[in-house]
Subunit: 341 residues, 2 copies
Amino acid sequence: LKLFLKTKDDVLILGCSGTGGMEAALVNVLSPGEKMLALVAGNFGERWAAIGKAHGMDVRVLEAPWGEAVKVDAVASVLEKEKDIRAVFVQFSESSTGVAHDIRGLARLTASLPGTILVVDAISGAGAMPLETSEWGIDVVVVGSQKALALPPGLVFLSLSEKAWAKVEASTAPRFYFDLRRERKAQGEGESAFTPPISHVVALRAALDALEAAGGVDALVHNAGTLAAMTRAAAGALGLPLVAPKDHGDALTALYPPKDLDSGAIVKALKYEFTSTVAGGQGRLKGKIFRIAHLGYYDATDILGLVSTLEIVLARLLRRVGTGSGSAAAQAAYLEREVAR
Amino acid sequence: LKLFLKTKDDVLILGCSGTGGMEAALVNVLSPGEKMLALVAGNFGERWAAIGKAHGMDVRVLEAPWGEAVKVDAVASVLEKEKDIRAVFVQFSESSTGVAHDIRGLARLTASLPGTILVVDAISGAGAMPLETSEWGIDVVVVGSQKALALPPGLVFLSLSEKAWAKVEASTAPRFYFDLRRERKAQGEGESAFTPPISHVVALRAALDALEAAGGVDALVHNAGTLAAMTRAAAGALGLPLVAPKDHGDALTALYPPKDLDSGAIVKALKYEFTSTVAGGQGRLKGKIFRIAHLGYYDATDILGLVSTLEIVLARLLRRVGTGSGSAAAQAAYLEREVAR
């Protein structure tokens, strides 16, 4: 897990899904009443704010329009004005829009402030885009088992810097199952504080062995980048607008349907005719977009197949003849990435 | 799950292990500062008290010597004196000693008090001993996937009475991942508030189907009762003192080793020579006892095999000749239970 996250710190394992990991990160580094800044660029950014409010934190929100990232400059000016912000919370990949945040730039900001840490929800971003936890100076990274590592959901992984651990020791927030002090001690002794999801831990070892054999996290990140480039190229050729045209990440691609088409019809046709799972929208984008994943086991063949079936589905729904232009664009993007390599 | 717990209320599923389920139960039915009564008869009773303290509850503890249950009369007299106790927390089966609490008697007490509920950690007790959640008037039951249901750890199940739900709605304790209001709404719509451990949920369905085919929870409980009776009979014949001679349950049997023998030596010999996993002690009984489980897939053949290998191990460690008396006693107990049936 240290290799996966490129961290020099120990990585803790908790038995829960991503939201539990986010809550564990938050309640361990803040005390009730302390000020936090949530960068909100979509559904999962809103979750950071909601968890903070549930635990009595003084929650400051910096929002970007859905489809855009919160910019480092905007964060810098808030931190400049409000010196009592103790932690900044952000998504590496905001799964509701496909936006990626500039984690490196944000970490540079917080690294210069002795009392402020950066907490990154990298649940769907780690393993899809380059992430240098220790080198960039990220204080807390949260990752889930079910994204790039392609395990079932049920485990989260947390890496904390020494700067973050000092906050954990000082926090007065009530916590028990998610108490990282207890887990640090137990897992440091090769145990766990409470019964862990054993089958997931065994599967994790297999997944990490397979990842190592396949070239490690850099190969996984390169693969996601290729699939994302292919998908964006196909979307351009097919006239499907990107939800995040400027700040898109490589974990997924979120697309608007063609004018006058229901995104749900596309999702359903792909699912029932081709058994392909493409996600709909979340939160305020529910029913308005569809999202294609590039994480984990997906490879170029999967994406080429999906783009082709998407062309069939669109041709039928739009009552027109497909031209293969999406497939051609995806193929060209593949060749450009892989020959350049 | 309703059949398994004999409850008329909906059963919620959470993605965590047993301790997370205990914490979820506690933080949803109490507000910080409210008075609770933890019945402590071992390691897991202490956990109820520790979770309450971590969340700022006013924790009253009623303790029994390890190896005994907390008696209903003692609870009645505390509740009589301290009218502001809002919830009583107890283990159905206290796994550290093998003690079972009189849940029916406790539920009769709390059912008569309009402001007080009974919260039962039935993680290892459900499916091992008769439990009538609704008929007895238990307000909250917490169960784990990895005990009688024989799934991997990673899921917990909670059943709450309407009396308990009123407390959930009133609670001001901070919570997010474990917020049962959110899960009740989402699971009522066939969804879940957050990503669930999907592979566990699929396995749960298979386990419940298998349970139904095997005669349901009553058959499972009968099986555990048989295995417990066999083990206690063997222990008597072999001169191994029960940790809980009077208040023993059927989920497990906890035994002291013969005088001058280290319990760890027994656990190790069974594990390395016969690949049988028998647990050591926990908390203040660590290194002093060993515990034999009767839950889930274990059957009479397993217990007879275990008793026989235990006789071999004891004979070798005590440098004496085995007589088969433990096996004979277990066989007799089996015949008595099954012929009587």
